[in-house]
């Protein structure tokens, strides 16, 4: 999706078929999701983890970081649409690639501490539908994100591949947000 990365030539790699280029990243992404899920299920959750100062509770820290990630993800979708020329009348400005890359990096880095707290303190749980969906999508998100990052520098893939994985990552993140931060804010009120 990031145009500048595509322009540069990859080091001489044996020409792999499009399928092979997708299979290895997909397997790695699958392993990432599986590893997170297994760790979350098998590790005995502690109920505590490192906390970030300035917030009333780990829950509110996580809700705000997840919201930051989700806002960045919306920027991701919009900037991707602009880059692909899908928004009529808008030509992609030169900085759109940078915006796309940096909003993605911020979203990912904001999501990591949230996920670590989930995995370490709370674990993969199924005591309610919300919690089960959140656990599943949380694992899938990082798997899908890994796939997207790994296939990003590869050339010669069908044009739909990156938008597809971008959409999967975005959808997973929004579902995570709805089953956590949205629930948190609507249950406890919007506060620090």
């Amino acid at each position: 999706m990031t145009a500048p990365t595509r322009r540069e030539p990859l080091p001489q790699q044996p020409a792999a078929s499009g399928a092979a280029k997708l299979v290895i990243p997909s397997v790695i992404g699958g392993l990432v999701a599986l590893t997170l899920g297994l760790y979350g299920r098998l590790h005995s959750p502690t109920g505590i983890a490192v906390n970030i100062a300035g917030f009333s509770s780990p829950g509110s820290v996580k809700a705000w970081l997840a919201t930051l990630a989700t806002v960045c993800a919306i920027i991701q979708v919009v900037s991707a649409l602009v880059m692909y020329g899908k928004i009529p009348g808008v030509t992609a400005p030169s900085w759109i690639g940078g915006l796309h890359r940096w909003s993605g990096r911020i979203a990912f880095l904001a999501a990591v501490p949230v996920a670590i707290h989930c995995l370490y303190a709370l674990g993969f749980q199924n005591y309610s539908t919300r919690v089960l969906l959140h656990s599943i999508f949380g694992c899938l998100f990082f798997g899908a994100f890994t796939v997207k990052m790994l296939i990003l520098p590869k050339k010669g893939l069908p044009g739909w591949v990156l938008p597809f994985w971008g959409a999967v990552v975005f959808t997973a993140l929004v579902l995570i947000w709805l089953t956590s931060a949205y629930w948190f804010f609507s249950t406890f009120g919007v506060h620090r």
Partner: protein
């Protein structure tokens, strides 16, 4: 620099995750709380003073197995009146168990999103199994100076061995309920012997899956706390007077 930046992004995130995971592990206490291992094996005499409300069946210590049980001398039946409170072994949650005339009220919370209330008959064989909302379960074996067991709340399991609290202090379990907006708010505080206070508040306590967050500080002098502008009046769940039962 323009090498494989997506891979760098991934590795940066992974490294951040590992750092946070290690930091969390270092923060989690691994040592068991004092008094859990052999140190708290009272003699029959001292157990009588530490739990003066022990029932007639407290002759149980004599018949207790000599194989140094890790906890204090177990009861053959539930104590008539007792309050136990303390941290779980990993420090992640705090547990209070209050027994009064055949009834038990127990509460576990982490001062944040994990909490569960339990109540029921105190049982007749010294062991009790209770269940609460959000699929919470608690099993415990009463002892003269300590109750051991494990509790699962919000899918998280905590082993505990909690001691009787000093009767002269304000240590113990407090509970407040109030209507705030359309919801019934239910707050619980566990006060330990050293004055530490851990509390959570369920904002929708009547629902099947209540959601908890950190409770406002309980003023022990007035037994009040202010939650979103509403004053909560707490009741002590007391094994001495039976209030709160």
């Amino acid at each position: 620099m323009k090498r494989n930046t997506p891979l760098i992004t991934l590795l940066t995130g992974a490294a951040l995750g590992v750092v946070l995971l290690v930091a969390s592990m270092m923060q989690t206490p691994v040592k068991k709380p004092a008094g859990y291992s052999s140190t708290a094996t009272p003699t029959a005499a001292s157990s009588a003073t530490s739990a003066p409300a022990a029932p007639a069946s407290s002759s149980a210590p004599a018949s207790a197995p000599a194989s140094a049980s890790p906890s204090a001398t177990p009861y053959a039946a539930a104590p008539a009146k007792a309050t136990y409170a303390g941290k779980s072994k990993n420090g992640g949650a705090t547990v209070a168990i209050v027994v009064y005339n055949g009834q038990v009220i127990a509460y576990v919370c982490n001062g944040s999103t994990i909490d569960a209330w339990f109540s029921g008959p105190a049982s007749s064989d010294g062991k009790v199994t209770l269940s609460g909302k959000n699929n919470a379960t608690l099993t415990a074996s009463y002892g003269t100076a300590q109750t051991t067991g494990d509790v699962t709340a919000h899918g998280t399991n905590f082993d505990f061995g909690v001691d009787t609290v000093s009767k002269s202090s304000s240590a113990g379990l407090y509970r407040a309920t109030a209507k705030v907006g359309g919801d019934t708010v239910k707050a619980g505080w566990i006060v330990l012997d050293d004055g530490t206070q851990i509390g959570s508040v369920e904002v929708d306590s009547t629902s099947a899956n209540p959601s908890a967050q950190r409770a406002p500080r309980l003023d022990l002098a007035t037994r009040t706390a202010t939650y979103n502008g509403t004053v909560l009046h707490a009741v002590r769940v007391s094994s001495v007077t039976g209030s709160g039962f």
